[in-house]
Amino acid sequence: MKHGMHLTINGEPYELLVEPYCSLLDLLRDELHLTGTKRGCDEGDCGACTVLIQGKTATSCMMLALDAKDKEVVTVEGLARGDKLHPVQDAFVQYGGVQCGYCTPGLIMSAVGLLRENPAPTEEDVRYGIGGNLCRCTGYAKVIQAILKAAEAMRTA
């Protein structure tokens, strides 16, 4: 049986009817076609589905969509301001932190969440902070560099 729910995604309000077994990830992708958030494993092991809920990172594949009722969700589509990329997005572009791109939205959301809580992370803090995000292409080297550069840019802005 579907249940009605209200939530906000990237600042936009939504009124929806949702099945109990629909995950937040299913809702974003299959119902709303916000396909920026990726499905890598549906088990919480890869972090590709990471979004922000009330400002904190969460693996959306594990969450019941209904559990996001009345909450504020931010996905990768909600980071840029028009044409202007978020400093984390920009740093990933400039410093080679993107290869195949499939882990990228989830990684960027984790980085945004990390920098919100810790604006001046050490390299070690970044490594642990993205410990829940799997990347098979980059070996993490340039991802970490990008996040540190983004942190620097955000501190001086």
């Binding site: 920026g36 990726k38 499905r39 088990e43 572009v93 490594r127 642990y128 980059t138 993490y140």
Partner: protein, 765 residues
């Protein structure tokens, strides 16, 4: 020179902005009106006759639109290589757990799953064979009883031997007799999954005109097109394959994957059908690397010169021909100049999913064996392992393993660079150690074509059929820009599919920069010739007096006399030759080896067996780094894949069943455990590659297992010959408990008749 403005610059990937914004479209991001969801029913048995498939209940379930099995399609076999041993659906028997039996299309995923649960299968179990060494015995159950009748079957195969390859040179037995020392070791590599983040995905939809559109996650759209046409017995022209953004493949998506299922269901229902694999199906529906056993025997002289090698490699091939057996003959010599050798490689059928491709399939396994063996020999001779490698390493002018001459290369520079960076040799503290590995590969070849058009405003459209997996779109654009003498931002890469772009081989085997890049360079040269010809006509000057650069064609002696590319494009519309388009095609590129040296510094915890990589240094000859940032990204990522293979990854299969088809229990490297990777890019340009570039992407994954095993031996004195190098194995070795000895019946293996199978040195893998 104009190329200097573009070559060697760290342009961000042309697709990066879309990827960081979530705008890039992967196959799973395609949603079409009326789209149905496809799920595939997989065999629950590893070896069994199929007595009955009853789909009637599934067909009647509300929300189910179609159910298909092998009975509904032409009985056509296809294959990953020469032998056509496989079908889209299992027909008279299943040969591995997971083999597809049926597919359904339903209105949503949960209905499709319910439908699968309603399909009834009756099996009659057959004895299963899961150990490739047992599979070689004369009385082993046969995975393919009809093997001799398969298309592509080569004489000499038989029983469960899928392929046998032999290679040799010189007089091996005499050399062993002359050798002052002979060493023998046997090594084992584990099952490895490619681990791409994006599970296989495909959407198929038919047009009213009868064309079949296939949006798919693939490295080889033309290969998919050809295979679909063959397997479904439809003309190739019915298919338009649209390769979507690829979320990793590493070889798993080189050929036909799961496209037949949504295609067949789209044909049957008239609706778009989507198939997206689950992560479990990344293990159970798509082949990955299976274990390998490698025996090496080497004869050396007291001064450290290697004079003889024998090798026997057993590749567990699973139930159908996959990839990797070639590396048992191409790489068991290693990057060394060995005048006498005899190497043989077996691919053996077993009742498991087939051994799929992964970033130079088999070479990492063989390199683990060879580079561990190299260290063992050096240490036993009392020689420095670096000196031993330098003494025996291939040099320019030596005979390459496939015949022909080793051209100029940077192997020695890579050894020197790592020696310097690691301050080799040094005495380490207890529990610390350093280990080396020297690796080789070749730059990929294969059919490649590209075309360029100049727009009336001087911008350039590059049409390349290659799928971008390693950043090649950016590099190809740099090549085109450099060759035409325009700025990078003037080049646009066309969106393409198999209707629109000219044929090219799949993206794999390290071939796109070297071969497709060459085609792009040549297409740019062709374009330049036509631009110059038109300008020469209008300027009434000979072509040799003109140059192309800075976005213009101009007279060398009087640069102010000339035209911009835009002007020429506009002029061409009314010229005799018509609109300007440059094209190029090639099918083979000369041998251009790639060498790298890697070194790992580790600490080993003697109480827990935990290994930490403290430093990782690598030097690779990249020819010319067209985009250094992209090159580094490739070799960093490859090294970390190799570290995963060394320390934590293993697909565990018991009785044909995968015990860990999940990222919870298949453990790939995460950021907190990785060292900083230090890279040295050595540049010794190739003769023929675009602006001297070499292949880059595959070699960095080969060396880490041996480098780390050698470092562990250096640190705590234990020698592990089986991957992964787990804490448990290390603790057993430290306790002096005999590790399971890997034994091969060498007499049997030497005696089995070789097939004289042909060895392909070019091509993908």
């Amino acid at each position: 020179m104009p190329e200097e403005r573009v070559l060697g610059r760290n342009y961000p990937r042309v697709d990066a902005a879309d990827k960081v914004s979530g705008r890039s479209q992967y196959a799973g991001d395609v949603y079409l009106p009326g789209m149905l969801i496809c799920k595939v029913l997989k065999s629950a048995r590893s070896h069994a006759r199929i007595l009955r498939i009853d789909t009637s209940q599934a067909e009647r379930l509300p929300g189910v639109r179609a159910v298909i099995t092998g009975r509904d399609i032409p009985d056509v076999r296809f294959g990953s290589g020469a032998v056509r041993d496989r079908r889209v659906f299992a027909l008279e028997k299943v040969r591995y757990v997971g083999e597809p039996l049926a597919a359904v299309a339903a209105v949503d995923e949960i209905t499709a799953q319910e439908a699968l649960d309603l399909i009834q299968i009756e099996y009659a179990d057959l004895p299963a064979i899961t150990d490739p060494i047992d599979a070689l015995k004369p009385d082993a159950p046969l995975v393919h009883e009809d093997l001799p009748r398969y298309e592509g079957y080569a004489a000499g195969m038989g029983g469960n031997v899928c392929t046998v390859l032999d290679s040799g040179r010189g007089e091996v037995d005499r050399a062993f007799a002359q050798a002052e020392h002979v060493f023998e070791d046997t090594f084992r590599s584990q099952g490895i999954n490619q681990g791409y983040l994006e599970p296989m995905a495909c959407v198929a939809s038919t047009d009213p005109s009868g064309r079949i559109n296939v949006w798919t996650s693939t490295q080889g759209p033309y290969q998919v097109r050809g295979a679909l046409a063959a397997v479904l017995q439809l003309p190739m022209s019915r298919f338009r394959i649209i390769p979507m953004e690829l979320g990793g493949g590493f070889g798993a998506k080189l050929r036909l994957c799961l496209e037949p299922y949504p295609v067949l269901l789209a044909l049957k229902t008239g609706k778009p059908v989507k198939f997206v694999a689950t992560r479990e199906e990344v293990f159970t529906l798509s082949g990955f690397r299976l274990p390998t056993t490698i025996y090496l025997k080497t004869g050396v002289m007291q001064d450290g010169t290697i004079i003889a090698r024998e090798a026997i490699s057993i590749f567990d091939m699973g139930a159908y021909l996959g990839a990797g057996v070639q590396s048992g003959v191409s790489h068991t010599i290693g990057p060394y100049n060995i005048p006498n050798y005899r190497v043989r490689s077996y691919a053996v059928y077993t009742n498991k999913i087939w051994a799929g491709s992964y970033r130079a399939s088999g070479v990492a396994d063989v390199t683990f064996a060879v580079e561990s063996h190299t260290d063992i020999i050096a240490r036993k001779l009392g020689m420095d392992p670096w000196e031993f490698r330098m003494r025996n390493a291939l040099k320019e002018g030596d005979t390459a393993i496939q015949g022909g001459r080793v051209p100029r290369n940077g192997l020695q520079q890579t050894l020197e660079a790592v020696k310097e960076r690691m301050q080799w040799p040094r005495t380490s503290e207890p529990g610390h150690g350093v280990g080396l590995a020297l690796c080789q590969w070749r730059s990929g070849s294969g059919p490649s074509s590209a075309s360029l058009t100049i727009n009336e405003d001087g911008t350039v459209i590059l049409l390349t059929g290659s799928v971008d997996i390693t950043g090649t779109d950016t590099v190809l654009a740099q090549i085109a820009a450099a060759a035409l003498g325009v700025d990078m931002h003037q080049v646009v890469i066309a969106k393409r599919d198999t209707d629109v772009a000219p044929f090219t081989g799949p993206s794999g085997g390290s071939r796109i920069t070297y071969s497709q890049g060459k085609a792009v360079e040549l297409a740019a040269e062709d374009t330049k010739r036509k631009l110059i010809a038109l300008a020469a006509e209008r300027l009434e000057a000979p072509a040799e007096a003109l140059a192309c650069g800075g976005g213009r064609v101009y007279a060398k002696e009087a640069p102010e006399r000339g035209f911009s590319l835009g002007q020429l494009a506009r002029m061409s519309l009314t010229s005799k030759a018509g609109p300007i388009q440059g094209t190029a095609s090639l099918s083979a590129m000369p041998y251009a080896p790639v060498f790298n040296t890697q070194a790992a510094e580790v600490t080993v915890d003697r109480e827990t067996g935990a290994v930490k990589i403290v430093r990782f240094v690598q030097a690779q000859d990249v020819g010319v780094a067209i985009n250094p940032m992209a090159v580094e990204g490739q070799i960093e990522g490859g090294a970390v894949q190799g570290i995963g293979r060394a320390l934590s990854e293993e697909v565990v299969i018991r009785d044909g069943r995968i015990l860990n088809p999940s990222l919870t229990t298949y453990l790939m490297p995460l950021a907190p455990d990785m060292p900083a990777i230090e890279n040295v890019l050595v540049e010794v340009p190739t003769e023929e590659g675009p602006f001297g570039a070499r292949a880059v992407a595959e070699p960095p994954g080969f060396g880490p297992p041996a480098a780390i095993a050698n470092a562990i031996a250096d640190a705590v004195g234990v020698r592990l010959k089986e991957l992964p190098l787990s804490p448990e194995k290390i603790l057993c070795a430290l306790r002096g408990e005999p590790l399971e000895e890997i034994t091969l019946d060498l007499e049997l293996l030497r005696a089995l008749r070789g097939a004289g199978g042909s060895i392909q040195w070019a091509g993908s893998g």
